[in-house]
Amino acid sequence: MIKALKARWFQKYRTMKYPLAPPPPVPDRFHGMPLVQSDRCRKDCDACIQACPVQALERIPGSPLILTDLGRCIFCGACEAACPSGAIFRDKDYRLSTDKRDDLIVSQERQLPLACGMSGELHRLLGRSLKLRQVSAGGCNACEADVNVLGTLAWDLGRFGIQFVASPRHADGMLVTGPVTRNMASALKDTYDAIPAPKIVIVTGACAISGGLFRGQPECNDGLHGIPVDLYIPGCPPHPLTILDGLLRLIRRLPPDADPSTTTAAKR
């Protein structure tokens, strides 16, 4: 017992102050979202579009603007490496979650509208106590690992009333990872059906949003379809801060000053 107390003293109090204080800094090489500064593009150059392994970049027909679909993007930086004119700006903002799928499509002129979260009766019911069932449907275990991290004492997700539970019957919603493999489709649907209404659905990672790297694979279903989704958290995998920010936006627990409704990146 005395040894356990001594170790506890040695290991210190480590739960982060965020969201009341600034979050821990992201690494200097953080894989942020790529935005194409189209005014710097060479004429008729589409090197980034060609280099993207998941077709996340697309030019608006008849316009110089290139759109980034963060629901497809795996944040690998292939576009940045391929660009001959330094027109790709990797934003370091960890805040990426949205309410709607279309909101994830951004460009130089279209900012990322961050999630506003639950409202009305749903927020009254679940805003202070949100129990989630996690279903991995073909996930590579990276999204799962960084969701799991939020349960550790550094992040302490429980202090926000959010908890991952062992049965769909105990859950208010589910958090889905993976491209929804054919072999998991029915188990995923069963889980969803077993959750009592009202229920919310969170999709985490490029796979669950769009199929990610597995989009078009016959063994997968290109992500979650046919079920209404309340929160999209992009990334491959998203940083734990990105996931936590999304969850806190969903339950509207971020203090107002930490919650500008859009990122500033696109204004640069």
């Binding site: 990276a142 991952f164 062992a166």
Partner: protein
């Protein structure tokens, strides 16, 4: 030996026409003799040949004592071949995989059923399960969706009261078709897919994938890149071993180390992110080298974080192993005897915990491990304690290895892009990931395009060990035994 099998080494390309092709009877005689002599099956797979829809079967055997690999092949006549599983248990899943992928039936296989249910014609998890009949016997079915934040898989226990007589594990739910996507050259997603074979082993699998391409093009990456790859591989091992020790602690309800290690694991993931920007090492390893450098200032930061992380984990783990109630739960739980580990073809820390002297970094070194040795850590007892303690010993050596590698980091470029791949060649690359031996085998066709890329995750070798470990255990010890292996579902399912 030379006319029986082609002897080569890890991360080498060999011309396919030099691989001896035997009729099935001589193939089985040669392979059986090699296995009886103590060689291990690293991979055994089919590849479709020609328009007739037939398949050629290639076996790669490892001779750990001599750091050599033996390769031989055969071509079954007709749709069946005699199963070797009854004599050599380590071939069990390989034969089921060949049956599933190529429609070849291993006649006499003791438990022939699907591995991954790949085509959707049969729902995953269906089929016969081994059943124990009798008074008071009951069956417990768990999964595919599990109680925690875990990947899906189905476990079927045959129990007598609390005691487990038999456990059968049915996987395939995570099958994403990665092997097929990596075969066929020019898939721009290939290296990214390699990173997601098992997301917690991104560095290990990406390195093995890249090594096959480098061997096939005959171009070795620059030394600086090889050193950085080795450091990233050890960081990956550190994060996962630390996390596993914490989870094992949690599974015996010893919360201090469970809490501490959960956090410290994150610190090690952040060290990987300091290197390459991503906590799992994404976009770090690429064919021909690495994308991220370790400059002097970054190296100082890394070493400081490593020192701090190690001090924290030492404090937490010494507490764990100093607690009698923990040891009482770890010792004699989930025991896999040495002979069983060898027969089932165990790899990685689980094999070393059962006294198997095999570690790719020592037996078949590639990259920096050819020049900077890392000692092999083994235990004899084969129980949960041994699997935990081997991890702790490996943590200590990995920390030391990274420090030394950082001090001796060679100068030079990070990348020398591989050129065209040699036509009609085969390359084997094995990497000691944190779970054990990762094997990638790539075959090129006459045009120099990759026509088959075979992946064998360490979990493919080790899932049967977990089933064995549960025999005559309390079912309540399943989480503890499971975590002591911590196998990958997606790495198995591909």
């Amino acid at each position: 030996m030379s006319n029986e099998m082609l002897m080569t080494r890890n991360v080498c390309a060999v011309p396919r026409d030099r691989i001896p092709k035997h009729d099935m009877a001589s193939f089985q005689r040669i392979a059986g003799r090699a296995l009886n002599a103590g060689l291990r099956v690293v991979s055994w797979f089919g590849n479709a040949t020609g328009a007739d829809g037939g398949a050629e079967l290639t076996m790669v055997l490892a001779d750990d004592a001599d750091s050599q690999l033996g390769i031989l092949s055969t071509r079954p006549e007709g749709a069946t071949f005699p199963s070797m599983t009854p004599a050599h248990s380590q071939l069990h899943l390989f034969e089921r995989e060949i049956a599933e992928q190529f429609g070849l039936t291993p006649a006499g296989h003791p438990w022939l059923k699907p591995v991954r249910y790949p085509d959707g014609s049969v729902p995953a998890g269906t089929g016969d399960f081994y059943r124990v009949e009798g008074d008071d016997i009951h069956e417990v079915a768990v999964g595919p969706v599990h109680a925690g934040i875990i990947e899906p898989g189905h476990f079927r226990f045959q129990c007598h009261g609390e005691e487990v007589f038999h456990l059968e594990i049915a996987l395939g739910y995570q099958h994403r078709g990665i092997e097929a996507a990596l075969g066929g050259d020019g898939n721009p997603r290939a290296v990214h897919l390699a990173e997601t074979i098992a997301g917690d082993t991104s560095i290990g699998h990406a390195t093995a994938y890249c090594q096959t391409r480098e061997a096939l093009s005959g171009q070795e990456p620059p030394f600086r890149a090889q050193a950085i790859r080795a450091m990233l591989l050890e960081l990956e091992r550190l994060a996962n071993h630390v996390g596993d020790l914490g989870a094992l602690s949690g599974d015996v309800a010893f919360l201090p180390t469970a809490s501490f290690n959960g956090r410290i694991r994150g610190d090690f993931l952040n060290m990987t992110a300091l290197f390459c920007g991503n906590r799992f090492g994404r976009a770090a390893v690429r064919p021909g080298g690495v994308l991220c450098d370790l400059e002097y200032a970054r190296s100082r930061k890394l070493l400081a974080a490593l020192e701090q992380g190690f001090n924290d984990v030492q404090n937490a783990v010494e507490l764990l192993f100093d607690t009698p109630s923990v040891l009482a739960r770890f010792e004699h739980t989930g025991t896999v005897p040495a002979a069983v580990a060898a027969a089932l073809g165990a790899v990685g820390p689980a094999a070393r915990a059962s006294g198997q002297r095999q570690d790719i970094r020592c037996n078949h070194p590639s990259g920096l491990f050819r020049f900077a040795q890392i000692p092999m850590m083994t235990c004899e007892t084969g129980d949960v304690f041994a699997r935990a303690y081997v991890r702790w010993l490996e943590i200590q050596h990995s920390v030391r290895f990274i420090k030394e590698a950082a001090a001796d980091l060679p100068d030079g470029p990070l990348m020398s892009a591989p050129g065209a791949l040699k036509p009609n060649h085969l390359a084997v690359a094995m990497v000691e990931g944190w779970r054990g031996q990762i094997t990638h085998v790539a075959l090129t066709d006459a045009a120099g395009k990759v026509c088959r890329h075979k992946i064998t995750d360490p979990s493919f070798h080790n899932w049967p060990l977990l089933a064995y470990a549960l025999r005559n255990q309390q079912i309540s010890d399943f989480p503890l035994c499971n975590k002591s292996f911590n196998l990958s579902y997606c790495g198995h399912d591909l």
